[in-house]
Symmetry: C2
Subunit: 381 residues, 2 copies
Amino acid sequence: MKIIVLGGDGFCGWPTSLRLAASGYEILIIDNLSRRNIDKELSSSSLTEISSLEKRIDVANKLIGNIKYKNIDISKESKKLKNIISDFQPQSIIQFAEQRSAPYSMMGDKQRRYTIENNITGTHNVCSAIVETNKDIHLIHLGTMGVYGYSKELGKIPEGYLNINIPDTNKNIDILYPTNPGSIYHLTKSLDQLIFQYYNKNWGLKITDLHQGIVWGIETPETKKSNFLINRFDYDGIYGTVLNRFITQAVNNHPLTVYGIGGQKRAFIHISDTAECIKLAIENDKFDKTKVRIFNQVSEILSVDEIAKIISDQYGSKINYLKNPRKELEKNDLEVSNDGLKSLGFQPITLNNNLIDDIRLLANTTKANFNKENVLNSPLW
Amino acid sequence: MKIIVLGGDGFCGWPTSLRLAASGYEILIIDNLSRRNIDKELSSSSLTEISSLEKRIDVANKLIGNIKYKNIDISKESKKLKNIISDFQPQSIIQFAEQRSAPYSMMGDKQRRYTIENNITGTHNVCSAIVETNKDIHLIHLGTMGVYGYSKELGKIPEGYLNINIPDTNKNIDILYPTNPGSIYHLTKSLDQLIFQYYNKNWGLKITDLHQGIVWGIETPETKKSNFLINRFDYDGIYGTVLNRFITQAVNNHPLTVYGIGGQKRAFIHISDTAECIKLAIENDKFDKTKVRIFNQVSEILSVDEIAKIISDQYGSKINYLKNPRKELEKNDLEVSNDGLKSLGFQPITLNNNLIDDIRLLANTTKANFNKENVLNSPLW
């Protein structure tokens, strides 16, 4: 079975490509290396030393399985994208090729426009190309829990659809959960949802949208097979997710930086589980095609302060509480369904039992790449 | 007071620019003439002979008021757009610069992609430019009734927001009406809504979204002042709205072409009322900025068959019932609130009392431009 992984050089795309290759799938990565270019723009870099994509693939082909690579920009080279899909004939396409940092998307006009153009045009080009080439291709898209907003006002967060009652007519219907994005990045995932709804309704496209929690961790069983396969690891205020920032700070004897009182509850998932959930979605592709399948790809719910305290307890790190640069609730309650992926066999890795692996890995890598300045470089919004 | 009219050369944009100029506003039209270029692509043309935009503006400046023009593509030239806004310092910006034909947006891959890119990137560029230049600018956007879908399942269609009850928590809240677009074009207006929601929430942008019905008619008091000011008039299957197609067919002794049984109820508005409603929105700009202001810009609800019969009764035209090329309900009921604009003083022009003007105008213009082939050139979807 053949799979195209759009954005297969990225933080989620690379380990997922390896997991699928290790499972016997024939993989074609499409990537324009935009994430590496943004590193240059931000004078930032992965804490782990990642190899060139060519080198990664060379080693992966020796140790793991069949991976190819083409460098195209799917948001600009729609014709090439269509031809590649037509030639390669994938059964599934995984769309990771979106700009994925909320803080980056809020830095200014340029980054807002880039995030909208890259994400919306890219994702729409994929949908349109599927209509043109083969409507049976299963499209799997990485969404975000952020499309729901972080509020329990509407109860436990369901998987994509909310049952409502219309007082005027006293009818009960399921609607796409009313979106409440917190950044331009999250907005793009909300926009994607409407594009998917329409392509599903009009052309019957088979689409799975995975609303992922905040990803933490570095390694998966496959990336551990060689130093050349190591995953990227961002700890800065722009691309580093909160838990990864804390881990890096702990290892480098830097205080843990919590925004506000750290009362923000969020959903988390380990990077290895990202790969596993995508694999589950691909392998369980018989579902009701009359609507977009939406799963919440999350393992556990924790508040930022709870996480800081777990790490602080283990490593003696201090915690610095800073003014929150974002417009968000200081404190929120959160309950999320993840029944869908669990029903397919998903067994989440949780924080307490696996944190130690990442710390050990980071402590063993050179600390030369750590730049304190980058930890607090998140923009105000 | 200064107003920028994006897409000011188009079917709605031109008469609105003239109405506002006649009311004493200083107008800057921004247009890349894309609608004229699509005419070439489709080997189609306006039934009325429209002058070049330069000529139009020249005559308008002599007869009506102060209008300037700059040719830029707001979806591609974001920097120029920002500079123009910064230099001109408008109090309001009206966004008409979206590809506005549902059939065109469904012709194929190229047209789908163009409609998404042009409409979404363009509208987002305007929002982002307003954040950069002056957050007090009032943005007025032309939406469509099509964002709601055409169903009475949820009751009478409200203005933008639907009151719902969540059975799980028994809470009542207002949400953005669950969207149900029927084409890529309509999808873009649904996507715009989410962009507006976010820019309003995060930057407090003052936005009015006008969900317009199907526009009919040709002339307004201002376009009648000179042949050089005449509005464009499309009667083809791609850009001609249903009522305008019927009027053209009647004048040219062609049978009226109804898709299906003509049971589709739709909301209609006369072109002169389009201009009037925009003016009302501009002049009544004190409103609750904590959410996007949404009005339904419609005058009356009629079924396609009802319209065909009104015209047939007056002109003896035959009615041809054809297989519907679109995926839509054969018959629907529809009830729509238009209380918002009415509360600002809107007094709708209705079909029965004003149809005659358009017929007379068309009968007096040369019939040389009428091409029967174009009447039925709508794509299947």
